[in-house]
Symmetry: C3
C-alpha cells in the first residue's frame, strides 16, 4: 500500500471513487460515484461553526477535486463539482450542478450558488454570498460582506444568473448584480446593477450588447457565442437567458 | 499508525499538542502546550537566510495552525496564534499574542507584529513590515517594501495600532499608517497617513468618526462596537485605543 | 522509511536529487541532477489536454521546488528553476534558465518564458503568455488572455526582455509590453507599450530613466544597479539590455 491515506470508516464513499495519495477524509463525508479526490486533499474538515459541525459534506457523482484542496463538513455540492488545486470550500454552502472553482480560490461558507457557475483562480467568495446560475467570476474577484469593517454586520453580495465579473472585480457589501451584467476588470461595484448593464470603473456605462469584438464578430450576451462550452442539456436554459439579458441590455440608457 | 508523520526527535513539543495527518516537523521547532497542527503542515522549514538558519521557530500554547501551512524556522509567535489553510510564515518574524492569519496569506519574514492582529485571506506582508496591535488587514492587502523595483532598497511599511486596511489596499514602500487610520478598498497609500484618518483612492478624506452605518447606528472607531470580538482581557486596551483614535480623528481637516 | 513518498518507477530521476516527505511523482517526469523537490509536492500531474498528455515534464539540474507545489506533465523548464510554496505550473510551458516563481503563483500553461525571469507571489500568468528574458512580475500581477470574457478567443499577453510589472499590474488581453518598460502598481495595460516606457494608471508617462531614487542615487533601467542580483554569467547580457532600454527610454515623449 503506497497511498498513505487516512480515511474515516464513517465516511460514505460511492462506487468507482478514486482517492489520491496522502488524502485525509474525516467522518462527515458522503462522496458520490465516479468522483476523484486528488492528492493531499482534506475532505470533511471539522468546522467550529456550531450550526454546521457534525453535518456531512456531500460531494456528488462525477466530481473532480484536484490536489491540496480543503473541503469542510456541512456543505452540499451538486454533481460534477470540479475544483482546481489548493481550493478551500468552507461549511454551510449549497451549490448546484457542475460548479467549477479555480486554483487557490476560497468560498467562505454559508453561500448559495446555482448551477454551472465558473470561478477562476484566487476568487474569494465572502460568507453568505448568493450567486445564481451560469455566473462567471474571473481571477481575483472578491465578494465582500462587511459594510463597515470590522464590524458584526454582514451584508453579502447577490449576483444574478449569467453575470460576468472580470479580473479583479470587487463587489462591495450589499451590492446586487443583475442578470447578465458585466463588471469590468478591476472595478468596484456598489448598490444595484441593472440586468444587462456594463459597469466600468464603478459606473453603469451601457448595455452588454455593446460589448463586442468586431474582428471576431461576436458580442455579448456571451451565451450567443459561448453556449457550447456547457453541456448540451443546458442550451435551452442558456438560450432563454440570452433572450432575457438582451432584452434587459437594450433598456440600459 | 495511520498518521504518516515525519517529526524530528529534536523538536520540542509540549503537552496535549495535536499533530495532524501528513505533518512534517523539522529540527528547530518549539511548540507550546494545547496547540494543534493541521494536516499536511510543514513546521520549521529550513531557511537559507544565514541570520535565521538553525534558530527555532516558537509556536506557543493554544495555537491553531490549519492544514497545508508552512512555518519557517527562526521566528517567534505569541500564544493563540491562529492560521487559516495554505498560509506561509517565513523566518525572522516576531509576533505578539493571538495573531490570526487568513487562508493563502503570506508573511514574508523579518516582520514585527503586535498583539491581536487580524489578517484575512491572501494578505501579503512584505519583508520587514512593522505592524502594531489590533491591526486589520483585509483580503488581498499587500504591504510592499521596494521603492524602485527591482532594487536592493528595502523601505518597509509601518502600521500603527488599530489601523484598518480594507480589501485590496496597497501601502506603497515607506508608507506609515497612523493609529486607527482606515484605508479604503483598493486604495494605494503613500507617505504618512495621520492617526484617525480615512484614505480613499489614495487621499486623506476625513476622520474615521465619519465612517458610519446610519442604519445600524454604529460608527468608527471600530472599537466602539466591535470590542466584543476580542477576549475580555483586551477591553481596557481597546477602550484606551478608541479614545486616542477618536481624539486624533477629530483633528483631521 | 519515514518519507511516505509515492514515486513512479517510470520517472527518470538524476543523481543527488532530494525528494521530500509526502511527495508524489507521476510517470512522465524527468528530474535533473542536484535538484530538490519539497514536501507534499505533486510532480508530473496528468493533464487533460490531449496535446500535452503523456508527455514528460522536464525539471533540469540544480532546481528547487518548494513544498506543496503542483507541476503538470508536458512542460520543459531550464536549469535552476526555483519555486516558492503552493505554486502551480501547468502543462505546455517552455521556460528558460533560472526561472523563479513566488509563493501561491500560477502559470496556466502553454506559455513561453525566457531566461532569468522573476515572478513574485500570487502572480497569475494566463495561458499562452509569451515572456522574454529578465522579466519581473511582482505580486498579484495577472496576465489575462480573453478579450471578451467568457469566449473562445485567446489573445495572450506578450512581455519583452527586462520589463517590470509592479504589484497588481494587469496587462489586458493582447497587450504587448516593450523591452524594459515599467508598469506601475495596480495599473492596467492595453495595447502596445513602447520599449523603455513607464505606464502609470494605464497611460504611458515618460521614459524609465526618469524613475529614480534621489536619496539612494539610483535610477532605471534597473540593470544599472541590480545586475549583481543575477549570476555573473548574465552580466554581459544585462549590460547590453541596459543600453538598449536606456536608448529606447530617451525616445519616449
Amino acid at each position: 500500500m503506497k497511498d498513505f491515506q487516512h480515511i474515516s470508516e464513517k465516511a460514505q464513499i460511492g462506487a468507482n471513487v478514486s482517492i489520491g495519495f496522502g488524502v485525509r477524509i474525516y467522518d462527515n463525508v458522503i462522496i458520490g460515484a465516479n468522483t476523484s479526490i486528488g492528492d493531499h486533499c482534506v475532505i470533511g474538515y471539522p468546522t467550529k461553526s456550531p450550526a454546521r459541525a457534525g453535518k456531512p459534506v456531500v460531494i456528488r457523482e462525477h466530481s473532480l477535486i484536484r490536489s491540496h484542496c480543503v473541503v469542510y463538513e456541512g456543505s452540499d455540492y451538486g454533481p460534477q463539482l470540479e475544483t482546481g488545486h489548493h481550493v478551500i470550500l468552507r461549511e454551510g454552502t449549497i451549490a448546484g450542478t457542475n460548479l467549477r472553482v479555480g486554483n487557490h480560490s476560497d468560498i467562505e461558507g454559508d453561500c448559495t450558488i446555482g448551477d454551472y457557475c465558473r470561478f477562476h483562480g484566487y476568487a474569494h467568495v465572502g460568507k453568505g454570498s448568493r450567486i445564481g446560475n451560469f455566473v462567471w467570476l474571473f481571477s481575483l474577484t472578491t465578494l465582500t460582506n462587511d459594510p463597515l469593517p470590522p464590524s458584526h454586520l454582514a451584508v453579502p453580495v447577490i449576483i444574478e444568473d449569467g453575470a460576468v465579473l472580470a479580473v479583479g472585480a470587487t463587489p462591495l457589501p450589499g451590492s446586487h448584480i443583475g442578470m447578465g451584467a458585466f463588471i469590468g476588470a478591476g472595478s468596484q461595484v456598489r448598490g444595484k446593477v441593472p440586468a444587462g448593464a456594463v459597469v466600468l470603473d464603478g459606473k453603469v456605462m451601457f448595455g452588454v450588447h455593446r460589448l463586442s469584438s468586431l474582428e471576431h464578430k461576436i458580442a455579448h450576451p456571451w451565451m450567443s457565442h459561448f453556449k457550447d462550452a456547457f453541456p448540451e442539456e443546458t442550451w435551452p436554459r442558456l438560450e432563454q437567458l440570452e433572450k432575457e439579458v438582451r432584452a434587459a441590455a437594450l433598456l440600459i440608457k
